[in-house]
Amino acid sequence: MSNPSRGRILGRISTALQQKSPPMSPQARPIFAPVGDLKERFEVECKNNLTECLFTRNAGETQAHLLAILASLDPGIVFAEDMPFLRDRLPYAPHTLQWSSEGAAPESAQATITRVKALVAATGSLLVTSSCGGRRGTIVAPVHIVLANESQLVPDIESALALAEAKGMTTKNSYVGLITGCSRTADIEKLLVIGAHGPKRLVVLVES
């Protein structure tokens, strides 16, 4: 579709900007408080934003926790990001497993299991992309289980974004995001309700 307005709008903008405003030079003052120990801070922030954060010492412990969580769900479809760890360790019953290599997460998925790209200590956030089980994998089911590693901890949002840029995440993926806690709303009388359109429960298993 032709778009003659484009030229007109840009023309008006550049004419307007022939008059510059006086520059702003903010003083370099520290804006954020220091993050401290990454693991401790991540744990505290997860508590604040209602992410369930569990630290495990090895693959066996991770698997045990994962199976316990799955056992607590009613039998149904579990969508998982295809990875050898899960291929080896997830049972096929009582849930029906669907892998990301087979296609997008279905609407009826009870839970999704994905990896993340980083753990952000300062805010208890997860850096994810569309390669973490597609765009759907991290939003579509009421329960989202994350498999992560302590080595993925980064201090703050700035370092998470720097990592995303450095690893080309923002060019290779059509979706990149930070997820901080589970879905929520305070639109009714400003009372917090957990579980709006996204997951009601977010569990992060962090292996050392």
């Binding site: 579709m1 778009n3 307005s5 484009r6 709008i9 840009l10 008006r12 903008i13 550049s14 004419t15 307007a16 900007l17 008059q19 510059k20 405003s21 520059p23 702003m24 903010p26 003083q27 520290p30 804006i31 954020f32 408080a33 922030e45 990301s100 296609g103 997008a104 997460a105 609407e107 805010t123 956030s125 569309s130 390669s131 089980g133 597609g134 765009r135 939003i139 579509v140 974004l161 923002t170 060019t171 993926n173 059509s174 979706y175 930070l178 997820i179 901080t180 879905s183 709303t185 639109d187 009714i188 009388e189 400003k190 009372l191 309700v193 579980g195 709006a196 359109h197 996204g198 997951p199």
Partner: protein, 461 residues
């Protein structure tokens, strides 16, 4: 009735409504506590404001270059960019797209610009069903009313009112418990998300160096709108562009803190285009509609250009003592509160000058703005512009001409003061009140028998 008279009528009604006042107060007090707590997470909140102000300042001063950079990146990843001069052009583009693609149902995440351009009626006229998915927006949509507040659209409603509404319109609602109400909305809206052909979102920021659109929601509705339908349309003002991805390290936390007191919004999303070849899901088409609609004119006004910095956090609405009395619907504009009063004359003309006068100029808005817009001083600028554009009522112009004449002479001034006191006494005696606009709400002032001037002259000071 013109907009100014309508505003007067509505504000009088709301100012007398004590229930309404209580509801707003309670909401605002909740916000105040959360925002204060949120600010303590910063080593220096004022430095954070300054940094964000500087980022937006840089963006606005380089608006053309940044928009071009953003557009290039979006196009290179298979997205479309359409530049709309005004509301009509933006509506036409989106309506045509919906028509061409056979769109029957649209899911929307929150976008003030889509309200500004009156998009929903245009799509409905085509036979599309348009479903608001932000819970607050969904509630006011069901009630057929505009949003009450740019961040919390249903702030004026109690759970009882929402419960009644949901029992009427949705299934499976038996109580007024917020958790049950949210669950009912989730069920209904989930069906919409999964069946809609088009998802429309706004944009909090357009990231130039990454060519990505930043969208923040707490509910996750923004994620679903931009993931499930096969077409994703972003509707945004041209002023939303920022230079770098790294800038979000400041803008995201500051927006969330000023908006709701949170460290960061739950789903802080970046979308760069339609799904790529290797991706297993995501929209097939991605369109960004850049809306001007008066913004480039505001840019040309160097004195007030900084108003374009606004990140739509809502802090100024929450800080405004006038908003707290009259609420969002009274303004009858897309953007309410201090930013609405400052911005609307620029977007919609002098018919909305009255909003700039409906302020006591207390300055609380300016003190809370996270991008340091000098809001209350811009209200003064708007008032001056109104006078210069000859928009003021003749009685007011005459009034100030007389005022000036009196103030230019010390003797006229003190004589007037005496005359005024005399006139007030006479009026009282004969039952006429020349000060009716004042005395409707105030007991008549008890004026001293002798002024300071008289006392000084007689050496009694």
């Amino acid at each position: 009735m013109n907009a100014a008279a309508e505003f007067l009528r509505r504000s009088a009604e709301k100012a007398a409504d004590l229930t309404h006042r209580q509801i707003i107060r309670r909401n605002m007090e909740t916000y105040d506590v959360a925002a204060a707590r949120g600010r303590t997470r910063f080593a220096d909140w004022d430095a954070a404001r300054e940094r964000c102000a500087a980022i937006k300042h840089e963006a606005i001063e380089n608006l053309d270059a940044l928009l071009i950079q953003f557009e290039e990146k979006v196009l290179s990843r298979g997205g479309h960019v359409f530049w709309a001069e005004n509301s009509a052009e933006a509506r036409e583009y989106i309506a045509k797209l919906a028509g061409d693609r056979g769109v029957k149902r649209v899911v929307k995440s929150k976008s003030m610009v889509t309200e500004e351009i009156h998009l929903t009626p245009a799509l409905e006229a085509l036979g599309c069903e348009v479903v608001e998915t932000d819970l607050g927006e969904y509630i006011v949509q069901l009630r057929n009313e505009p949003p009450y507040h740019i961040v919390t659209p249903a702030m004026h409603l109690s759970r009882v009112q929402i419960g009644e509404l949901f029992r009427e319109k949705l299934e499976g609602v038996t109580s007024d418990e917020p958790a049950e109400l949210v669950a009912a909305a989730r069920r209904k809206l989930r069906a919409a998300f999964f069946s809609a052909e088009m998802g429309i979102s706004g944009a909090n920021f357009l990231v130039a160096d990454a060519g990505m659109v930043a969208i923040s929601t707490n509910e996750g509705n923004g994620r679903l709108c931009t993931t499930l339908p096969r077409i994703h349309v972003v509707v945004t003002g041209i002023e939303k562009v920022i230079p770098r991805l790294r800038d979000l390290a400041y803008l995201w936390p500051v927006l969330a803190t000023a908006g709701t007191g949170q460290p960061i919004t739950t789903y802080s999303t970046l979308i760069g285009g339609p799904r790529t070849a290797g991706e297993i899901d995501g929209p097939e088409e991605f369109h960004v509609v850049l809306v001007d609609n008066g913004r480039s004119e505001l840019l040309a006004d160097v004195e007030q250009r900084e108003v374009l910095r606004c990140i739509r956090c809502g802090a100024c609405l929450n800080a405004c003592p006038v908003y707290k009395q009259v609420g969002g619907h009274t303004y009858a504009t897309t953007y309410q509160g201090p930013i609405g009063s400052v911005l609307t004359p620029h977007l919609r003309g002098h018919d909305f000058d009255h909003l700039s006068y409906a302020s006591s100029l207390c300055g609380n808005c300016t003190s809370v703005c996270p991008v340091k817009i000098d809001l209350h001083h811009h209200l003064l600028h708007n008032r001056r512009n109104s006078v210069q554009a000859d928009q003021r009522p003749p009685s007011e112009r005459l009034g100030f001409r007389m005022w000036r004449w009196m103030m230019m002479s010390g003797s006229r001034f003190s004589q007037l003061a005496k005359l005024g006191k005399f006139g007030a006494r006479v009026g009282k005696a004969i039952g006429i009140d020349p000060l009716k606009p004042w005395t409707s709400y105030h007991a008549a002032p008890e004026l001293p028998r002798r002024s300071f001037r008289d006392l000084w002259k007689d050496g009694h000071v």
